[in-house]
């Protein structure tokens, strides 16, 4: 297991290095400069600013400086928000984004798991049909539509939950819910499909022939095997939620990363764009890493074959 983990970890570092490098050079290929009102600035001031941000250094030097900062967690200073560090701004916005996204994934996975399990065990009953309906609903309605509908009805019309801003826990409920529905839908479908297949497997008969009670057969023997594919999808799904949250944050006017990201693109704020891109990459790669590890824990075939190499 340790070997497997280390192997995954080294893949992760290499992936991040490639992403950081590509992002860095892409930013430098883009036309335009981050300087506002460029043409009105006197030449010597322009020169001064370029100097301050190190933009006059040869590209390899800039790259090395950038990478040096990166390993220390320094993403540079924002070009447009004077005197503010990119990492500081991320540190400010991320907890909000992480909270609503994380809550959505956890809630969505638990509800999806239960729904899928019930559907598989009660195959062909109204409960199965209901779960299918919820899944279709969850997959076909985009989260921003749901978010807007929720904001209007639950927030504005009925006044049950706060419509916008980040004031108390209640502020997180609607945005998380809007994000969670697709998780519920996808996880429940995966669990149902897998559960139905696993319940028909030969080893289920073996387990039953041992005289194990039904609940042991279902939870100890079936569920574990049915979880494996659902866990693989959890990685991409979490990523999906994280990116999806940019829009949801706008709808509910939440002070998350989404706001900074949108602003930085509009303003050509290179360090900010690079910083957020890299930050998201780290997040996504970490999620995939964690999922890989979980996968290895649950499925001994993966764990052991990974270790052999």
């Amino acid at each position: 297991m340790l070997k497997y983990t280390l192997k995954r970890l080294s893949y992760m570092v290499v992936t991040l290095w490639i992403i950081a490098t590509v992002t860095f050079f892409l930013m430098h290929l883009l036309p335009g400069t981050p300087l506002k009102n460029e043409e009105k600035l006197p030449e010597h001031i322009k020169e001064q600013i370029m100097e301050k941000y190190g933009l006059n250094d040869p590209l390899p030097v800039q790259y090395l400086n950038f990478m040096g900062g990166l390993v220390q967690g320094d993403l540079g200073a924002s070009y447009t928000q004077d005197g503010r560090e990119v990492s500081g701004m991320i540190a400010e916005g991320f907890p909000v984004s992480a909270f609503i996204g994380g809550q959505a994934v956890v809630f969505g996975s638990i509800v999806g798991l239960l729904l899928g399990l019930i559907a598989a065990l009660k195959r062909g009953t109204w409960m199965d049909n209901l779960s299918t309906m919820i899944a279709v609903f969850g997959i076909s309605i985009p989260n921003f539509v749901l978010g807007a509908l929720l904001a209007y009805f639950v927030g504005v019309k009925w006044g049950i939950l706060p419509v916008a801003l980040w004031e108390s826990y209640a502020s997180s409920i609607m945005p998380s819910f809007a994000l969670a529905l697709v998780v519920v839908a996808i996880i429940s479908r995966y669990i149902r499909t897998e559960m139905v297949e696993v319940l028909d497997a030969e080893y289920m008969k073996t387990a039953k022939a041992k005289g194990l009670p039904r609940r042991t057969v279902v939870f100890r023997h079936a569920l574990r095997n049915a979880l494996i594919p659902a866990i693989t999808i959890l990685g991409p799904l979490t990523v999906n939620i994280i990116t999806g949250s940019l829009v949801i944050e706008q709808i509910f006017a939440l002070p998350g990363i989404g706001e900074y990201f949108v602003k930085s693109i509009v303003n050509n704020d290179y360090t900010m764009i690079t910083g957020i891109t890299i930050f998201y990459s780290i997040l996504i790669v970490s999620v995939i890493f964690i999922v890989d590890i979980l996968y290895g824990i649950i499925d001994p075939r993966i764990r052991l074959s990974g270790a052999k190499e």
């Binding site: 497997a201 030969e202 080893y203 008969k205 073996t206 387990a207 039953k208 022939a209 041992k210 005289g211 194990l212 009670p213 039904r214 042991t216 100890r220 023997h221 574990r224 095997n225 494996i228 649950i298 499925d299 001994p300 075939r301 052991l304």
Partner: protein, 338 residues
């Protein structure tokens, strides 16, 4: 000779879109203590359904016991609730399935798959069960069981998995072991090893065995008695010698003639039985073998023959056994010379 199992007039059907599939249509046989009974017959004749019904493993719906009794140690299992059956399964009656590749749980250690039955039925602590599991693995001939016990099924070869299955099945020392084609999925050399192992263990723990197989060579090797099934019915049953040397039913003749023989070195042709068994959705009223039987008479298609006694241990269901029927001799390829 005490009867361990007494199956009486068992009928099992499945409800399908096309109607009721009568998979088992009045099966009667018994198993006495320490005995090995082989069930043979063509694919689809109801061997697996019969054996799984004894363990009440047939999913309901669509399957159901229509009629009959499964008397195990004086109790009718056909009437048992699911809770009562849980105490019987794995403890008094155990089962081995055909494909050891798919019948073990891939994400659970072999050890745990053995111990969970012990913990369930024998009130053992984890530690006791662990020791017992190692002992079982050693008993079924798996080398270095202390380290093997921690491994997963995919780290075992096919033959070893079937050995592990046998260890699981025999862990609680069941009174009856049902093996449904335990060697079909294995290499020929491994097949012989597994059969030898079963024989050996049967003596050690004194269990009765129901062995389902297509392989008459295996039957000759291990069985005390043989039950020949055809289209959901038992058409002939008798001691091993009676079936091999005095077969009475034309279908049994056909089966024997289609089996390769070691006792004859001439080139007697192997004759598969032409035709196919009847549709169990709508079985014929008479003898189910009539359409393929070279000796079929008028009465055969109209009425199911009664089961008659050739001897106290040998029964057959065929009109040829009727006193008024013509005297038909089995073909030369079918009967073993003594």
């Amino acid at each position: 000779m005490t009867k361990v199992l007494d199956v009486k007039d068992l009928h099992v059907s499945f409800n399908t879109f096309n109607g009721e599939v009568q998979a088992v249509r009045g099966v009667t046989f018994d198993v006495t203590k320490g005995e090995t009974v082989a069930i043979v017959g063509e694919s689809g004749c109801g061997k697996s359904v019969t054996s799984q019904t004894i363990m009440r493993l047939i999913p309901n719906p669509p399957g159901f016991i229509k009629e009959g009794q499964i008397v195990f140690e004086g109790q009718d299992l056909a009437q048992y609730s699911e809770k009562q059956m849980e105490k019987v399964r794995g403890n008094d009656i155990a089962m081995i399935f055909q494909d050891p590749m798919t019948s073990l749980n891939p994400t659970m250690t072999v050890g745990r798959q053995i111990t969970e039955g012990l913990i369930q039925h024998q009130n053992m602590s984890k530690q006791e069960a662990h020791e017992k599991a190692i002992e079982m693995l050693r008993l079924v001939g798996i080398p270095s069981p202390e380290s093997r016990i921690k491994q997963y099924p995919h780290q075992f070869s096919g033959g070893m998995r079937q050995r592990a299955m046998i260890a699981i099945a025999l862990a609680c020392q069941p009174k009856l072991l049902i093996a449904d084609e335990p060697t079909t999925a294995l290499d020929v050399t491994i097949q012989a090893q597994i059969i030898d192992l079963m024989k050996d263990l049967q003596n050690k723990i004194d269990t009765s065995i129901i062995l389902i197989t297509h392989d008459l060579g295996v039957v000759a090797d291990i069985a005390d008695r043989v039950v020949v099934m055809y289209a959901g019915k038992v058409i002939e049953t008798g001691k091993l010698d009676e079936i091999f040397y005095q077969p009475k039913h034309p279908y049994t003749w056909g089966l024997l003639a289609s089996m390769p023989r070691l006792d004859q070195d001439d080139n007697t042709e192997l004759l598969p039985i032409p035709g196919s068994p009847p549709n169990l959705l709508n079985p014929p009223p008479g003898c189910p073998f009539a359409a393929r039987c070279p000796h079929a008479m008028k009465v055969c298609t109209e009425q199911m023959p009664e089961t008659t006694e050739v001897s106290t241990t040998h029964q057959v269901a065929c009109w040829l056994d009727h006193p008024l029927a013509p005297d038909v001799k089995p073909p030369a390829g079918a009967v073993r010379g003594e």
